[in-house]
Amino acid sequence: MRKYIFVSLLLAFSLVRAQNPPANTPALRPFSDVLHSIMTPPPAKTRADGVEDFLCIECNHYNQFVQYATASDPARLKELAKQMQLKLANQVEQSRVDMQSGGGPGASGSASAVAKAGLSSILSAAIESGAITQAINGNTINITGNVDAVSRFLAGGPPIPYCPASPNPKAGCGTPVLKDLGFSVSVDTDQNSTKTASTSATDNPAGTPSTVNLLAGKNRFAGASLKYVFRNPRDVHSSQFRTEWSTFYTNNVTQFQNAGAQLSGVLAKVFSPIIRDRNADYTAIQMRHRPLLLAAADQAALETQMASYLDEVLTFGRANIPDFDKQLRSVLSAYMLYLGNVNELLKTINEKAVFSAEYNFQRPQGQPDTSAFRIMSSFNPFGRDANGTLSVNVAGTFYNSSSVTTQFGRWRDAQASLQLERRIGDDLANYPARFSLAAYFQYMLSPGLISLDSGNFAPGTNINLGQSAAIALAPIGPIWIGEAKLTLKLKGSGAEIPISITESNRTDLIKSTVTRGHIGLTFDFAKLFGSN
């Protein structure tokens, strides 16, 4: 959600700054700072300086002027802003590489040896086949979501909140804490089982048994997790940042230049005819209003004169430029897109590494239940170049059951892993695929355990267990895994296909080298919003 917050705060409405009280005339609020600089000139400035600054719309008041012009139709303006926000949100989502949709390395069906630190903006789903650390391959459906977005959706509201200007932009929008809190639920599918069915002796051939065991598939709840994402802002004055900014700008110069060219082009189309009018009517309007503005006795009079000037410029524009109001709205759209595009780029460089922490309750098939704590970070090791993300995980797993911990100890394993991932292609959002290499290390502090239910016999005996028990199957020791993964991105759909291959020295239960393939299908619902 933080991506949306950042973009939303940059919408055109946010020009109203908080340090001065707003103008009393609602339509003039975008000019509040200018108003106050005329009423109370800052040091080394005069009232005349403030008036000149205000009169010069083409100097630095394009956005404010357009907001003033469209203020008479706030509903349409708000709708436009919402549409732009959704477009931007979609662009942001399409460019994300920090999100974990599938299960982590401990799931029975997973294509990822390393979990990423980011959070789904709304809801994502994944079905993945193949195990990373587990002895038995499985198929796992994983649903991950953002607590804030899902609760908004369930309450009947939009999952992506509309965020107009805030007097405290740092607060962002969305529900505090919840917007950075994620959850996941995993279900193992098609677990092999048998079902006993009765036969009808009279209808079947002679010798048919009265009951038969049929192969059947079943789904089972495999685990759930909670994740909280932490982030830290960057110091733009540090020497490290300056070096990184230089590299980052060079690598993204085309996008910065395109964004600037688009904005200046739209502005020029609207304002050049006003400025270059043969009769110099715009200049005449300025000259006529200059003394009136200077003579305004108080704030109310000044606001009246400011509105009078802006209205006259608008009247002039509407009389001389075809579709003037439509063009003004296109300026507003251009600002929103510029701010969304450029500031999303800036956000990439302005953010430090992403940190998140996760609690994961796991129900591995045929093994005792476990809990895992994982700390994750995603950052760029190449001077904040957008193309290249390193994800690092540190985790520990312990057994939940006291009967198991009494016999084998509380801690099951400790894990450390890292993954380097790069986009294939330069486009931030519309790249075709990503490629990653990962290394995973897990040290089994306790032997790998399997669960036996009460109907089984103690190993090597014919003594019925009488109650559920766990037995050690594999010794303690290290597990090493290497992974190569290609994630195909189905453009604009929100769907991705991760395909990976892993090589490990052993699994948690079986001590022998294993090479396995993994495939999955993930779908991020957030990428659908604003895509049209």
Binding site: L15, E58, R242, F256, S264, G265, A268, R276
Partner: protein, 110 residues
């Protein structure tokens, strides 16, 4: 070559320059982090050579719009004319507003 942009002594316009003159405007920022990303003269894009842009003044009002980007939201941008003989002339100085990166200059070609 001497600087070619001058203030309008009548106060009617901000800047004057000889018709047909080729001007070079550059930016610099207090943080030294800002970049000139785009420029548009009279509704036509002009290639930028960050941090400068070079263009030719035509008769009458010329509207130059530039866009600047800086990662420092509190940056101060100075716009100056590169007069070509090692001298510079400050044209404008303003606080960078990340929400309004465009700045316009009307220069009357005479």
């Amino acid at each position: 070559m001497a600087c070619q942009i001058r203030r309008d002594p009548t106060g009617i316009h901000r800047f004057l320059a000889p018709q047909g003159a080729t001007l070079t405007l550059c930016i610099k920022s207090a943080s030294d982090l800002a970049h000139l990303t785009a420029a548009n003269l009279n509704n036509s894009p002009v290639a930028v050579n960050d941090p400068c842009v070079t263009f030719t003044i035509v008769a009458g009002a010329n509207l130059l719009i530039i866009t600047v980007v800086s990662p420092d939201n509190n940056d101060t941008i100075t716009v100056f004319e590169d007069c070509g003989d090692g001298t510079q002339q400050q044209i404008d100085q303003y606080s960078y507003n990340p929400n309004d990166p465009a700045r316009g200059f009307v220069i009357i070609g005479q």
